[in-house]
Symmetry: C2
């Protein structure tokens, strides 16, 4: 099995050894998922990755999507790729058995999605949009909507989308102005425009089903007046006939990356003949959408992690093949140059990538595990999973996007000038990943979400639970031994984060919210460092325990690599917390109080 | 005058108010350069930028250079652009009057080059390569070489290049294998291949003159056996006839950015009919080339700064035009959205860009000033300028490249989704700047240069001079008043840098060089923070003094902005030094001692 874009060994380590995910089969819903079922599922995902996704990653960039005579053209292999993923059960995997699904745990499903994204995020993303859109219909739609739309979405013959963003509103959803006018038959006449709609139109599917936010005539202003609609590009009428529903594509965006993955500018109802179908109750659209957006945020984290993974294994390969230079103490030019992985700074750059990649995947699987508990557990276990998932979602979305950009930049640097050329895939990963800090809420928005909503939530309960979880890992690390330096580094930063959080909550209680939120982005960055530090220490504990056994050379290297990457993270990355803490404690309100005219 | 890619006000502030650069006219060579001469020169540069360079920046990317039937095609307007720059005197500006030059101080010349790079680095870079190549011929070439090549290079009819890199050697110049075989007439027969040769071949010039490194038959191994040659694409023979010199273009690289600026793969002497002409003495090639490379490193810093400048003013404009969202304490949706520059996090991102941009330009002009003193001063003044320039060159090259990438990423973030599209220029700046951390020595190489060569140089003299210069600025800041917090932050980091440097030199004296050099890249980053902090405090002192006068509103905003950006840098950027210091003091040798097999 080729593993040139993903490490199955790492996924199995995380799922089985760190999270014991197969133990979820103690719950009735997941009772069929033992370790073997997990492994078979992962291997099936890699097979699709190898056969369909990875081979066209570069092609989709070099021959980008284009819009001509009203049609959006994408890579011709995408139709069969979608079919393969649908046939493999990846659109309905998490659904109930009785609805044709596999009741797959989210932690396994997301591991599979991560494999797809590592193989080719631009090809795989549209399937996940369809999963998200279909979930909204399943959870909140009428039986008729389900019967009309789900069968074709489940086969990926029809594309699902999230149609939120409008030109005048951007991140400010309360300013949405698309309208929905009630019709006698219970449907709505839709009018408005949406921008940056991912997979919003393309010729690898027969229809596009938009899950669209709009305001019913007379609805209140702000987020409370927003409703959710199904708005298809082609409206299924009697006998399954498809009628054009006045959803026109104005164009697709020319983007720095993700060139094979369409972002469309859509016009709804320009001819006054666009029909939409209400999902759930009027004015509840945003709360429905947020359920999908929370999943989509984990999904964006997976997307970033996929990009990092592809770039990391490409860089790792290069550093094992390319010989250049000698060690500083070796002046003997008659000796052959060494492989560049022998150079300390190249190793540092590789460890950086490994620590960002595997730390991010760990957190994303951790969040997926909480999502599973939220689904199947009860009482306190469920409640705690809920709070931890709420708290960690902004980090799971933002850390892989922000630090992934840095990781891929380091991958490029490992290749020197070659990394900047399109002879290697890294320049594409570098371009592709950059949107993820903007998608699904910018990093700024997630900073505000974390510090402004999640930290004060339920009297600080989520944060207390987080501190307890990290402390558990610190205790376990002390018990297993050999990790004392890493424990000390993480414990110091955890304590500082705790004190800082109390300090900021003190400001929040005394001044207008602008003040404590002014540098929320830095708080998010700091919180991310401690969170990933925690995930690394968890992995190091597991590895340390495993190394008490007799191991093959490759297994020994695998576990020792985990301990080394943990040490790297604590020493090189977590230490960045020191500067962030100093800044966040400072009383100089620079970002808040600098007059715009001073920025010239 | 349009200022949509550069601030002339800022350049004048730095040149006149911070560096008093016109006082260089106390030296005979620069006696004609008073303030008025400076200002006229800057304005002439902006005129070329406005008329020729800026208008084709995007076009050169969208219609990239291409190679077809043996010809490298570039933007058709480049020929007249080069002519305008040559007619403006920009190829020979620093030359002596008697050689047709203007004896322009480097600090002014580089300010002009920065303007060109801000307008369009991809169009302007080839002229600077020609300047560098011509300088090598002027300084080390025979009278015949000068007479044959300089006139056409001075008019930019002929392109000059630096032909160093070879496929098997990369950064390791000691492994170069191109050969030069002596011919009876005193010339050499050249054979070899060179990669990534900037402006190595293109149809906007009539000939290309390569300043090429190669080994004379029988030369010793390593860097001591390398000689420098002039190798033209077309060889001027009797009566000025041009004969093809067997320099073939194998292709040009497909690059992530700088798509209008060619990087060529060249084959020399495949038909055994490539003639080269020795420059200076045999085996001294690398030392000659290094003189040009030091200038080229400042040039790369200017290139990065130019990209940051273009992106910053584009982002600043957008944040003044785009309205979105409301302040956290304002829940009144009937109020209009605010301009996004009103949001604290957008201001933070703008201040980040401003602080990186203007801090970088200040350092680059500081280095240029030292280069001028090195040229015209005597005794101690000259010696000190030499040491400070040597010490600061790796930072002037690397800081704008590394932190510029971050700055431009923040510019993109200010635009949200729009920034990722090619409707705006920022995505191009983001792609273009990334090569600068690889060009002219990777960041790794510059870390090794700083810590391994410049710090130990002359018993630590350069570093002592640096500490003295920063201390002078700290004293001046205390004297002017109002900057106590910034003084305290910088003084703390300077002291820590000093202690850390002694610590590392202690290791250097006891262990093999691999040990103290293992994290040289981090040391470079830390040194860069203190250096740019110093340049910011210098600017703040000047601004604070200026604000004691009665000022117009715009002038007040300009100076207050300087003080605010200084505070931003100390609070948000310099504070990163804390984490770097902790890591660099740690005794865990992670990058050095992790076995390659653990990185999996």
């Amino acid at each position: 099995m080729k593993e040139n874009y993903v490490s199955l060994r790492n996924l199995k380590f995380l799922l089985h050894e760190v999270f014991s995910a197969a133990d979820l089969n103690r719950f009735e819903r997941y009772s069929d998922y033992d370790r073997e079922a997990f492994d078979m599922t992962l291997e099936a995902a890699v097979q699709i990755g190898d056969q369909y996704l990875f081979p066209i990653y570069r092609e989709m960039d070099k021959n980008k999507a284009y819009f001509k005579d009203g049609v959006v053209y994408v890579h011709p292999a995408l139709r069969e790729t979608y079919k393969a993923m649908a046939d493999g059960g990846w659109i309905t995997a998490i659904d109930d058995y009785h609805a044709g699904g596999q009741q797959m745990p989210a932690i396994l499903f997301n591991a599979g999605v991560f494999i797809f994204y590592a193989a080719n995020a631009n090809a795989a993303s549209p399937t996940q949009l369809t999963v998200g859109a279909a979930n909204l219909i399943k959870n909140f739609g009428s039986e008729q909507l389900k019967a009309t739309y789900l069968p074709k979405m489940n086969t990926m013959e029809w594309q699902g989308t999230m149609a939120l963003t409008e030109p005048q509103a951007g991140s400010s959803l309360s300013d949405l102005t698309s309208t929905a006018h009630p019709q006698p038959d219970g449907s709505y006449q839709i009018k408005g425009q949406k921008i940056y709609i991912s997979a919003g139109d393309h010729n690898a599917v027969d229809n596009v089903v938009h899950l669209m936010l709009a305001r019913i005539t007379g609805a209140p202003a702000g987020t409370r007046g927003i409703s959710l609609f199904v708005v298809p590009k082609y409206r299924p009428e009697a006998e399954g006939e498809l009628v054009y529903n006045d959803v026109a594509t104005a164009g697709i965006y020319g983007k720095m990356g993700q060139k094979g993955y369409v972002a469309a500018h859509l016009m709804f109802g320009e001819q006054d003949s666009c029909t939409g179908y209400l999902v759930g109750e009027p004015h509840h659209g945003l709360s429905y959408m947020f359920q999908m957006m929370n999943e989509a945020r984990i999904g964006t984290g997976l997307l970033s992690a996929g990009n990092i993974s592809g770039a990391y294994y490409a860089a790792l390969k290069y550093t094992h093949e390319r010989a250049q230079g000698r060690h500083p103490s070796n002046k003997d030019l008659s000796q052959e140059p060494v492989l560049i992985i022998e150079h300390a700074d190249v190793r540092r750059m590789l460890l950086l990538q490994k620590s960002i990649l595997e730390g991010s995947i760990a957190l994303l699987l951790q969040c997926s595990y909480y999502a599973d508990l939220l689904h199947v557990a009860d009482g306190q276990e469920k409640e705690e999973a809920h709070y931890l998932l709420e708290l960690l979602t902004p980090i799971a979305k933002s850390f892989p996007a922000e630090m992934g950009t840095v990781a891929i930049s380091n991958a490029m640097q490992c290749l020197g000038g070659a990394g900047y050329t399109d002879d290697f895939p890294i320049e594409q990963y570098y371009r592709d990943i950059r949107i993820n800090a903007i998608y699904e809420g910018t990093t700024t928005i997630h900073g505000l979400d974390l510090l402004g909503r999640k930290i004060p939530m339920a009297g600080g309960k989520p944060f207390s639970l987080f501190v307890r979880e990290v402390q558990k890992t610190l205790d376990a690390a002390l018990a297993v031994g050999g990790l004392e330096q890493d424990v000390s580094l993480l414990a110091t930063r955890l304590k500082a984060l705790h004190e800082l959080t109390l300090h900021l909550m003190g400001i929040a209680s005394q001044e207008k919210p602008e003040v404590f939120l002014a540098d929320a982005t830095l708080y998010l960055e700091l919180f991310g460092l401690v969170t990933i530090g925690w995930q690394w220490l968890k992995q190091a504990v597991t590895a340390q325990q495993a190394m008490t056994e007799t191991l093959s050379e490759s297994e020994l290297s695998f576990y020792a690599g985990k301990i080394q990457a943990c040490a790297y993270f604590m020493e090189y990355e977590l230490s960045k917390g020191l500067g962030l803490e100093q800044r966040l404690k400072s009383n100089r309100r620079i970002s808040l109080e600098t007059p715009p005219s001073y920025i010239n």
